[in-house]
């Protein structure tokens, strides 16, 4: 079925749309190696100067480091919590099961602007200063549905008879989880962690409300948009980060495909 010759119009459509999708990415790349601060046609000249200036741009690098911290922390927490909920969903029967599932999945459909201002309200009431921690907390909430989905589908993929065998041989349930279940779902946990990482690293709508004086990279990028002469440096870093994210995504995909 999947190897007939495509009608020429359909192939053209596919590659045309792909070209359209890549156009902005190509533009960004050109912008980062263009010597002018506006990307006007015809291009003035080629430079790697923006990448060089990046090394001295402390604020930019600090923002990127902030994003790394938030993304690592929140993806770690989201993976642990996602694993917990997944095991409960796939291996236990209890009355509030649907309630817990709904609670864990709902962040997927609550508009980010609503969740962002609600958390802003909570932290104001609790007198918690906005920081990387508050951004990380928000990212953990929104990444949880993704980690839950990835880990739960892995748990559904293998028979619980392995666990029963371990328990028949005298292992208690915590030991069974640690020695049998966790090794089996580890690839899914890695994949979930990477997914949560990329979700957090790119997230702007929540971070804008919750970052306070410690901007993450997207928030900093947004604050610098007004200054045209700073833009190429930001984009140079963004191109590097984009490559980093893509590498992570490819690793995640390969990891998952090897498991299937």
């Amino acid at each position: 079925m999947n190897n007939r010759r495509a009608p020429i119009s359909l192939s053209l459509y596919y590659f045309g749309l792909i070209a359209f999708l890549y156009l902005p990415i190509v533009v960004l790349f050109l912008f980062s190696i263009n010597s002018n601060t506006t990307l006007s046609f015809p291009l003035k000249g080629f430079t790697l100067g923006w990448y060089q200036k990046l090394l001295q741009a402390d604020a930019v690098l600090r923002a990127a480091r902030n994003s790394l911290v938030v993304a690592s922390g929140s993806s770690f927490a989201a993976t642990i919590l996602g694993t917990m909920v997944s095991i409960l969903m796939m291996r236990y029967q209890f009355k509030s099961k649907n309630l817990l599932l709904a609670l864990a999945a709902l962040p997927l459909i609550v508009p980010y602007v609503v969740l962002g201002v609600a958390l802003l309200l909570l932290f104001s009431v609790l007198h918690v200063d906005r920081s990387l921690l508050t951004v990380g907390i928000a990212h953990t909430v929104v990444a949880l549905p993704y980690t839950l989905l990835i880990i739960a589908s892995r748990l559904a993929g293998f028979d619980s008879s392995v666990e029963e065998a371990a328990m028949d041989l005298g292992a208690d349930y915590p030991t069974t989880l640690r020695r049998i279940v966790l090794p089996l779902i580890l690839p899914a946990m890695v994949s979930a962690w990477l997914t949560a990482f990329t979700v957090s690293f790119d997230e702007f709508a929540l971070a804008l409300f919750l970052a306070g004086t410690q901007p993450t990279f997207p928030v900093y990028l947004f604050s610098q948009l007004r200054f045209a002469n700073r833009l190429p440096i930001m984009i140079a870093l963004a191109v590097l980060l984009m490559m980093g994210t893509l590498t992570l995504v490819f690793i995640a995909e390969r990891y998952r495909q090897r498991e299937v």
Partner: protein, 318 residues
């Protein structure tokens, strides 16, 4: 949640032992395992529940409560006088409703366009990509994995008055003055968001197309159905769950969108999410912002309920 009622049900293999002696130790071990299972349950249950309760449920409840606060004077929860003032303000201000209507309409255009444009993509990937299916799929997804903010900003660079398109047209003498109508309006927001969502919308449609049994096409062909008839009678109806899923997966987040209008919308391209953001930042009227947020949340929940009526979740997970 009743604490005694919500405990885990033990599996049948852990039923109470009737006889001691041979096998008794195994049964005792199993009974012990049952207790372990119960304590493990609480270890697994409490952290996510507390986390989601504290950082998801309570904030929204707090926002709901705050939306009934009638004034903006004093500290957040001091001088608590519940009232419906904020909702009255919202109801009486026609421009809020208009903006909600406009945002919904924009979300409708965006999600329908994204679905229509990505259907042929999914069709190509499902039926004609052959050995290169994996590569073609990744090729489609790479733009989706690149920074959202940057892709939106790239459009700004392309459409700005000294941007790529304008300078290109001027260079070739097609126009004299830069076209200012390209950026900072509603159409730019719509174009940019369609662009952003196309790869995302393609995924559920692709999943639905890939589930169609090839034998159905053979049967239809044997009975004399032409390719177009096959498409209308088999492919399209069977892919509809994926089409609806794609529609809602785009529509629901788009209604609440505020970032894209901020970047490329200008003052004419504002969406409903932008007034919420404004009331929590510049305008600093949190009670009114909360009321507007609750309305947004209510509208989204209704949409999700409709969506779950139309799509069976099990269909998507197969």
């Amino acid at each position: 949640m009743g604490r005694s009622k919500s405990g885990p049900v033990t599996t049948p293999t852990q039923a109470s032992p009737k006889s001691e002696g041979f096998g008794g130790s195994i049964l005792r071990a199993r009974r012990g395992a049952g207790r372990d299972r119960l304590s493990t349950f609480w270890v697994l249950y409490l952290p996510p529940l507390i986390w989601l309760g504290l950082f998801f449920l309570i904030p929204i409840v707090l926002m709901a409560a705050f939306s009934f606060r009638s004034d903006t004077y004093g500290a957040l929860f001091e001088n608590w006088k519940p009232g419906l003032n904020q909702y009255a303000t919202v109801v009486l201000t026609g421009s809020y409703w208009r903006l909600l209507g406009v945002s919904s309409f924009m979300a409708l255009i965006i999600s329908v366009s994204a679905v229509v444009l990505s259907y042929p993509l999914s069709y190509f990937l499902a039926f004609y990509s052959g050995k290169r299916a994996g590569i073609y799929l990744i090729l489609l997804l790479v733009p989706f994995w690149t920074s959202y903010l940057l892709r939106v900003m790239a459009w700004k660079i392309m459409l700005g008055s000294d941007g790529v398109l304008n300078s290109f047209l001027i260079y070739f003498g097609l126009i004299k003055e830069p076209l200012t109508a390209l950026l900072y309006n509603r159409n730019t927001v719509i174009l940019t968001l369609i662009y952003v969502w196309i790869p995302f919308a393609a995924l559920p449609i692709l999943a639905a197309l890939q589930r169609i049994e090839f034998s159905l096409f053979e049967a239809a062909a044997d009975l004399g159905a032409r390719p177009f008839q096959q498409f209308m009678r088999i492919t399209l109806p069977l892919s509809l769950p994926g089409v609806f899923a794609a529609f809602f997966m785009v529509f629901i987040p788009t209604i609440g969108e505020y970032v894209t209008p901020l970047l490329v919308g200008g003052s004419n391209g504002f969406m409903y999410g932008n007034i919420i953001q404004d009331f929590f930042t510049k305008a600093a009227n949190w009670p009114l912002g909360s009321a507007l947020s609750m309305i947004m949340l209510g509208a989204t929940m209704i949409l999700v309920l409709i969506a779950t009526r139309i799509i069976k979740l099990e269909d998507l997970l197969q």
